[in-house]
Assembly symmetry: C2
Homo-oligomer: 229 residues x 2
DNA sequence: CCAAAAGTGTTATCGCTACACCCATGA
DNA sequence: TCATGGGTGTAGCGATAACACTTTTGG
């Protein structure tokens, strides 16, 4: 490599796109927005934006997420960087995709409306711009992998939840179904759930106990590489 | 989002850095180069370069890899995008890290020398520039995950190899040791190795059979999500 | 009393782990 | 013949998967 400095190299537009997952009890959802700029204005798109020179890319992603949801402290991680030359017909833009997990029932409907955002079932996604469909597919795969070994499923549920809700979430993520007895035994045996005295009485007469995720107990076990499912 | 176009946004330098792994029978190695430009000229660094406007980022990574090794058709995948504002004191550079697996004995020593490149045992890495140490650490973690479920370990071995070489590789990747009988049984039961009639006679009098990875058989099994180890 | 969801145990199978001896050969 | 690494089988254990009935209670 020659002794050149940085000045002679190309600078490129850097975007961030967020795959925002939610769970409403029935299926896994992704939050999409109607794109507000050309090209492809008016089509469905992931929430995104450009990264500024003065901020780190993780900060850029966090900024964009706050913009759309108004929510702070959202679980988020980088997914992949998409950099094909022609991925965006509007110019040479390299996009870094992040995926985020939010508690759908805590999201603010008005803020979402402001951005023309809408939840879509992952199995019924509309046509999306650019390579966004590929991003969602990859994000779903990553979520499946991650959820098997890390307690991030709870990010998609209310703070207190029933075992059936938790099972429903895992079933939605994996698009399969589990035996109730085996699931219950396994998840409780991890020792990271705390049962409350309170019951959820909406969906049954008997009522189902609420549980909360016990982050402290989890931290103690974390080092050993806990297996969730 | 307002109806703006792309022109008003920041453009940023985009770099690619490659974590190149090799295995020489004793330990897992990474290929590092002496940096040829300021800042930090002369220090150890991952092989890297800037992405051009006219090429995709995967192509940029492939180009840089060929530059250093002279080798084509190398296994490579994107690792992570590093974009902290201050990661490079020479300017605002976002770097996309790739990791690659090469057959160390097929590498061309002269080409490596041209670039001041040297293999380092992963346990004895020198001080490296910027966030390159973090990149290597992450790459190693990813390699461990990946190797458990995908047949990419073979990329680090000669085309024909003995079972002991293969076991040595897995032991190096996981920094542990396996029981020879259990390892042999498991790896052979996958049905993706083909035994040759030829024996390796260097390291023992009896001689050990050579095996080759049977890519066709693997492809047949791939859909079901084979578990390597 | 009945409908509807909650909660709970046992058994068979499979995969993993631990463990030790004989084989083939060149020197 | 002997030293060296190559090659092989078995038994115990723990995890997983399959499977159905009883409990609670509001209407």
């Amino acid at each position: 490599m020659a002794r050149i400095d940085y000045k002679h190299h190309d600078k490129i537009l850097l975007a961030v796109d967020c795959i925002i997952f939610g769970f409403d009890g029935s299926g896994l959802k992704a939050l999409l927005v109607k794109r507000g700029l050309e090209p492809e204005m008016g089509k469905w798109s992931l929430m995104g934006g450009f990264a500024n020179k003065e901020e780190g890319i993780d900060q850029a992603a966090a900024r964009i997420l706050v913009q759309l949801t108004g929510m702070d402290k959202i679980y988020m991680e980088q997914l992949h960087c998409f950099g094909d030359v022609d991925r965006d017909p509007g110019g040479r833009v390299v996009s870094i995709a992040y995926f985020a997990l939010i508690k759908i029932e805590e999201s603010n409907g008005e803020t979402l409306d402001l951005h023309n955002a809408k939840w879509f079932d992952l199995k019924k996604l509309p046509t999306m711009i650019f390579d966004h469909k590929q991003m969602v597919r990859l994000a779903k795969e990553r979520l499946q992998q991650k959820v098997a070994n890390h307690p991030i499923g709870f990010e998609l549920l209310p703070n207190k939840f029933t075992l059936q809700q938790l099972q429903g979430l895992y079933e939605a993520v994996y698009e399969t179904s589990f035996d109730k007895r085996n699931f219950t035994r396994k998840i409780l045996s991890l020792g990271i759930l705390q049962r409350l005295d309170e019951k959820e009485k909406e969906s049954s007469k008997k009522g189902a106990f609420y549980y909360v995720f016990d982050k402290k107990k989890y931290k103690q076990l974390e080092s050993e590489g806990i297996k969730m499912i």
